[in-house]
Amino acid sequence: MKIISLPAADAVATWELGKRFRSFWALQDCSVTVPAGRVSALVGPNGAGKTTLLHLLAGLSAASAGRALIFGRSPGQDSRFLSDVGFLAQEVPLYRRFSSADHISMGQRLNPRWDGGWARARIRSLGIPLDKQVGRLSGGQRAQLALALALAKRPRLLLLDEPVAALDPLARRDFLTILSETVADAELTVVLSSHLVSDLDRVCDHLILLSASRVQLCGGIPEILGSHKVLTGPREGTPAVSRGHEVVNATHDTRFATLLVRVNGPIRDPAWGIRDASLEEVVLAHMSRAAAPLSAAGRVR
């Protein structure tokens, strides 16, 4: 393995990371970086490898190929790494027989930077009884408790697997607000996964797009939006565009074409109308290209 020198600013850096389950590669050739202080949206369809990547980063599973560094440290069984990384699994795991207060006491005993006072205040402000068994709380209350526990650990990197899936729209907005406040207060980097980017584009400033076990996009959201344009113009002009730029997705009707393009420099042809792409358009275009890799547009990388 080659020696890798890592800028201290990267919270997460992976090189050709891969995970194989028997003969199936759940994640392949995954090279991403998340600079410290970013909130990164990890998006992709079901089965794209999001959970696999988060498990690798959290040290819950071992890589089959490549490597990952979290603040310059390999995920593993040492307390420096474990105290730096917070993880909330998709299943929202909690001890059913424990109360919220028990979970907070548990965190106190197992973590060096635990903020139990904050967690108690947060649970109280949500109206969740501290002494009620977790098994009797509602799904949304359990998700709120699990998120509060993940934040109370005061990690430097927080990995959240579908954290808002169990929340109603109001609780979702509330949680994302808390998350962005915490990121602003503490030096926190977050990677949170979701099916869809529409949940997340308010708080996220970084994007990792996984599809078909591979990374399709990785970078700051402003940079991604800056490099993608939607072009509308004559159908027969498409080949000319794809010579100079990367056509991610094309829809044609009888006369006109709508192209989502990753641009390399300015587009001067006056035949094309140009507008900015929304993040959702960019994400969907890359996802559908990855889902149909043999289509005409899919050959262009």
Partner: protein, 309 residues
Amino acid sequence: MTWLAWRQHRGQVAVAVLALSALSIVLVLSGIHITAVYRAALATGRPSNSCGDLGPQVFAGDGFFFDIVTLTLAAPLLIGMFWGAPLVAREIDQSTHKLIWTQTVTRRRWLTVKVTWAVMAAVVWGAVVAALVTWWSGPENAIDCTRFYPGQFDVQGIAPVGYCLFAVTLGVAAGTVIRRTIPALAATVAVFAGVRVLITEFVRQRFIPPVTTALPPGPHPSLLKQNVWTLSAHTLVQAGHVVSHPTIPRGCRGRAHFSCLSSAGLRQIVTYQPGSRYWAFQGIEFGVYALLSIGLIWLSFWWISRRDA
């Protein structure tokens, strides 16, 4: 971690304490009764250590308590099933391993604390049950002289502590490898029963080579009184040759045929373990199961550090 282990398993501790209390009450009360009857029977002038002839008189109506004592054969299995097997498997079943393994505690440390408490619980459980049964069996041991035989040997002394250690570590290992509670529970029962039967039936009698001697045919009360474990007493020899189908000589029909056979020169080959080896066998049996337990603990740690969550 200790706080967590206690908080998670205090329910199991409470159930175990309740079960032990119930067993203690039954065995202590019936034991006091049996001891009193035994003392009274001795006081009427019959010899102690009579090996057999006092039994029907002293133990009349106590069949229920003998059944309970026999049932303590399964006591180690209970701790393996309800404490050992779910120790890791239940966490994985409910995904809480992903919660606990991402706190600032390594898997090794987590397992160390959980296994330490489980092992201590198993030792206490095994020791209390074995101590109760050993005390309770005092009159039975004195009258029947069968404490070295499979069945009695397995519920008295220190062997049951070894079985408890084995059961709980077997449960932990099965849960760690299989990762699901119910299949781990089933595997614990199957492997525990298999190993116990195998060692009891085929291995234990070879711990120390048995003693073989030729005796006149018939019962040997003096040998029985030494608490021997008779392995075989079937072969008859006459003048150094094995008699495969001894036909009773014509003059020996009737009640006194054993003495008649012996005066005809027939001898019985008796293979047995002397009663003086009882504690050596208890120690070896305990050691065998303790070694198996150490192996299973090692397997659990090896597996949990290598496998993905």
